[in-house]
Structure formats: C-alpha cells, structure tokens
Symmetry: C2
Amino acid sequence: MYPDSLKKLIESFKMLPGVGEKSAERMAFFVINMDEENTNFFADSIKVAKEKIKKCSICNGITDKDICDICSSDLRNKKILCVIEDPKSIFLFEKIGSFNGVYHVIDGLISPLDGIDPDDIGLEKLVNRIHNEKFEEVIIAVKPSVEGETTALYIRKILDGMNVKVTRIASGIPIGTDIEYIDSMTLERALNDRKEIE
Amino acid sequence: MYPDSLKKLIESFKMLPGVGEKSAERMAFFVINMDEENTNFFADSIKVAKEKIKKCSICNGITDKDICDICSSDLRNKKILCVIEDPKSIFLFEKIGSFNGVYHVIDGLISPLDGIDPDDIGLEKLVNRIHNEKFEEVIIAVKPSVEGETTALYIRKILDGMNVKVTRIASGIPIGTDIEYIDSMTLERALNDRKEIE
C-alpha cells in the first residue's frame, strides 16, 4: 500500500525499542517532510555513531577513542571502582555528579535459567583489573533482581582474599514514591536495611 | 558527557515527534548495538525515502512515481472524489478497503486566526480538477473542527453551480466509546444527525 521507500523507512523505525506500527508510520511521515539537511544529518549520525562508537579497552564503557574520557582522566579517583551491567549506567551515574571513581561494565548478569554463566559476562577481565589496579573499594551497582543479587554475591566470592572492600548500592523505596505502590520484596528489603536516624 | 557521535545521534532522534530526551537516548543506545547491516538499512532508508517520495501530480498524495498507484489505476471509480487534508489519510481510508474512489489532498485547512486563507491550501487545483474530471460526488473528509467545518463549507460554496453532489463524512460518537467520555459538541452533533432505525 505504501510506496516501497516509505515502507522501508517504517520498517526501520519499527526496529527501535518501544516503537510500534503507528508510531513508526508517524515518524516516517515526519521524516519525509523534514528538510533534506536534517534527513542527511539524521542518516549520517546513524552511520557515524555505528562506525565510531566502540568499547573502552579498560572499562568496556562506550567511547569514540581507544580509552574513554573517564579512564584517561587524571581527576578521577582510581582507587574506587563501580561495577555496572550496562554502558548506559555510566552516564546515569555521571549525571548525579557526586561519584568520582571509575567504572567497569560487565557483559550482563549471571542467569542460570537463561544459560548465562559467570564465564559469559567477562568477570575474568574484571578480576584481573581489580588485581592489577589495586582498588580499595569495589561498588557493585547492578540492578536488584535475582540475577543481580546472584552476580553481586558471585563477584563478592571471587574477590575473597584480595585486600578490597566490596559494597552494594542500597535497595529500598525510591524518593517521593508512595509506599502503597511498592512491591513487598522491596518493602521487606527497605525494612531490613533500615538505618538509625542520627 | 556522551561521545560526540552519540550526542548527534540522540539529537537526531529528538527531532522526531513524541520523542523526548530519555527515549532518544534509549533509541541511540539501541542503534549503536545494532548490526551494521541494520544501521546501514536504517540510514539508507532515510535518505532514499527523502529522495524518492514526492507528491502525486494529480492528487497531491505521496508516491515514488509521477502519478500515484491510485490515480493511475483502472480499477478505481473516477467519479467519486474524497477530499482530505493530509496525505497520510489516504492510507487510513485504504486500510478500510471499502472506498473505491480517488483522493485529493488539500494543503491544510482554512484558518483565519492563523492567517491561512483559501488561497493557501490549493483549492484552485481542487476546483480545476473537479471541473475537468466531471466527478459525480465529492466527499469532504477533513477533520470535524472549526477549521474543518469552515473549509468544508467554503468548498461547498465554490462548487455551487457545478453539477456535483458534495457530501461530508459523519461526525458522532466513535464505535465502542462510552458516552460519558464524549464532549458536548460531539454529543450535540450526534443527536442532531440522528438516523431513523429501519
């Protein structure tokens, strides 16, 4: 029904997360009405990003250099390592602005049910790095799910014997959320991890 | 904070309708993790669609030919013309599958408040076409708003004296919608345009 080139454009947008048929059609119609300058900018930015963005050889974060800006910065505290599961998390932590350590991205979470073993998520590279760079603290900042907890405990275990403090970011009730909307696992955790008001 | 090429990709996605900062970031991260085959397909589909898609010289619908498939088809009833305000509407009507006439896209709706006069929306081309092609019926299928009604009445008026039936698609309560959610203008219209049950 649609002209062929429009059909392909709609298909392209449908590849994106959270974009269904209707949104893809809306985006495609919008694009064909854009200035050619903008469509060129759009198309080129896809190709250039795909070409240039790669993994930082130290932390696995994304960068357009060999070593990312954080790993190569002299202003970061190279004694504190934050372990995350997704390169995107780096930018979320950087937005807070108060963390000054460095990062290490592991390649997902341990999930025996999905056949993902410790070997599959690059823990060897992590352990070697911790061994070589002599971190004082390793903060595990993967998500609080069964897989996340398994992964955190596993990392804790393989770091046993190394002279490093291993911590886990807190779970609990998000700031500003009504308690009535919180699931019982989170509520239980929040209760167990309660802190004394000083 | 983001590498330059990623920043540009996020900017690109933010140009799209309904895409804010967060969605654009999500889409950009998704794209840099796609296969190169898919990113090439995506980028090329933008450029090719922009290059090839143009207005049908007869109906102003979108096409990758000089004359669109509908205007050039021998299977369509060339005596019934459906006037719409947006090329996209053609595909919505085609999805119904029961309309077999042809279309004409006008370039928006008359809106004195926004300074859009009858001259601005290509009504001359429409009138010439109706005059030359001797349609039996002109169905006005623009949206039921103040601007839509103004435009419909204006078209009705300038076709006065031509031997052509001018109709307007019905307004009323959408199928399946609870009456309690309907605004009073729509409800009034539905009441006024009531039909005898036969």
